[in-house]
Chain length 342, copies 2
């Protein structure tokens, strides 16, 4: 019982416990129409601006700070860019808030800031507001970074999980689990030899052209972070009130990730990425959209992995067709198998 009176690591994992925390504590207090949408970005309308502005925030507590393929700075910039991109918004500017533990080597901080600067250049966005706080040794963990971002939503975008329809197709922009495995191995120092590195990248050049070309046929997009594909598909099913069937054999996973997963008992559908998204599109444009993804460097492993269906009496569910032809139910993540990967 004591455990349930206190926050645990599972509450930060992005799965069902996080949803419970948000639902029981944040939602009743902070409720308003925009927060209630629970999207990756809030969409603002106002008489002071045309169209819609997207606004989003994310705190990054990844450990270790540096890992193959990235670091907390690159992650913080790209993570917030991606929350805007999946809303169909072009990033306008970012803020950066640093909470530094006393004793952090300046060289580490410099590496992180340099990496943020490079990620901003690559993502064509600027950090226009920043804040720095320092806490005593033992009261933090090296460095935490918050980034918030403002973006301008493409007027053609109609991205909304409530718009998914039976018959829509589910696209995945690339291989599962690269980021989660990369951070896990960097942290645990298990001595496993692997070429897996984080897929941390800005998804704007991959996703925004889809919105521009296919407009309302792009029903929904979400980047695959905490909780992994399984959790995000369950959220889409619940919010869109549709079931879906995923073909397990169609899921792209790098051989290095597969072998680490088999060794350690992880399931790639619960692992985090930081440069991949799931895209629900109308059946009419699905093939064209997939080809468009595959032509881009960030989408060369993109695949059509399943489709949306009318739910039966049991309600909206996520099913997985296994390679031997069976069907199983896919649950959202409950507690995290890998905490602090972002």
């Amino acid at each position: 019982m004591e455990k349930q009176k206190r926050v645990t690591l599972g509450h930060g994992a992005g799965g069902r416990m996080t949803q419970d925390l948000i639902g029981s504590l944040f939602v009743p207090q902070l409720k308003n129409d925009i927060l209630m949408e629970m999207g990756d970005s809030a969409l603002l309308r106002g008489k002071s601006f045309h169209g819609r502005i997207a606004f989003t925030t994310d705190s990054f507590v990844v450990t270790p700070l540096f890992f193959p393929g990235g670091d907390i700075g690159k992650l913080a910039v790209n993570g917030t860019i991606n929350d805007l991109a999946v809303a169909g918004a072009r990033p306008l500017c970012l803020s950066a808030g640093f909470i530094i533990e006393e004793g952090l080597p300046f060289d580490d901080l410099r590496r992180v800031v340099t990496s943020m600067s490079e990620a901003c250049r690559d993502g064509d966005v600027q950090i226009v507001a920043a804040d720095t706080k320092v806490v005593e040794k033992g009261k933090g963990d090296g460095l935490f970074v918050n980034t918030s971002g403002v973006g301008i939503v493409n007027p053609k975008a109609r991205i909304d999980p409530k718009r998914v329809k039976a018959g829509d197709r589910i696209l995945l922009t690339g291989t599962l689990g690269d980021h989660g495995i990369s951070v896990f191995l960097a942290r645990q120092k298990l001595g496993i030899e692997t070429d897996v590195k984080s897929d941390c990248a800005a998804l704007t050049p991959l996703l925004l052209p889809l919105v521009e070309k296919f407009g309302p046929d792009i029903r929904f997009m979400r980047d695959l972070t905490r909780g992994g594909l399984a959790t995000i598909l369950n959220e889409i099913a619940a919010q869109g009130r549709k079931s879906m069937t995923i073909d397990e054999e169609s899921l792209p996973v790098l051989p290095g990730v597969t072998s680490v997963c088999e060794m350690l008992g992880f399931d790639p559908v619960y692992l985090a990425n930081e440069g991949k998204a799931v895209v629900v599109v109308s059946d009419e444009v699905a093939d064209d959209a997939l080809r468009m993804l595959q032509r881009h460097r960030l989408g060369r492993n993109a695949a059509m992995v399943g489709g949306m269906e009318t739910p039966d009496e049991g309600g909206a569910k996520v099913y997985m067709k296994t390679p031997v032809g069976g069907m199983r139910l896919v649950d959202p993540l409950l507690e995290d198998q890998l905490p602090r990967i972002c």
Copy 2:
């Protein structure tokens, strides 16, 4: 030497060491015209919206989480509202990022979120985007909160430290040091009996009517947080290339704050507030602006505390006229006397 290779608490104090950190590390990497303005809010212009949008971020690491007059949640909402207000902007929406240490009692989190909800209601703003992360016990300190905010700048606002002129008057909206002393006493448990409590409040209803009424005659505004009045006046002097003389006798300080300062050797001009601002106004409207401040509940102790002057060859400096008629130079804060008060 070792010390200078690592971040220390002084780097987070908001004084000269913070400026050095920003100047040596963040500015060279992240430089862009908007960040370079180094204002409390970044001002954005774009073809997608009329006029100007203000955007700001702040992380809060105050300890303890609860103190007389407020808590980390109220502080986080009002701190970001105030960064927008001093830019002449009406807050449109806020984001909230929570970094929770494993083991934080749910009741504490609930109190903080409730307090944020109340502060939002009082400040007429909504939290539209939120994020929650959890770190292991011993890797945080209960709770850190980041808030970022977007606001719409009043078209009449021309708030810019480069616009201050010799002859302009310096107004202070109320008593110095209430917040810093309140948090310090709550933390140290020295057993000092006092009625001092934090002045944490949203300054929008006090400051925005000034901008609406006096427009460009309001040269500059800044809320008095980390580093206190002395540090902020030095920043205005440096950015506006003007000297100033402050009349020490005119500075409003509550008797309770004065006696704690005398007991413990603190100087109120270096202490933080969270519901006070310094306002530089043209000489022509100074008396009217002061009366307008004094008529508001949050400005009833407002005072005219000094004026701007043409600097002599020594450059822009802040001078203090002492009660016995002497003059002394006021330096910005170097290291903090009271870390983690916001």
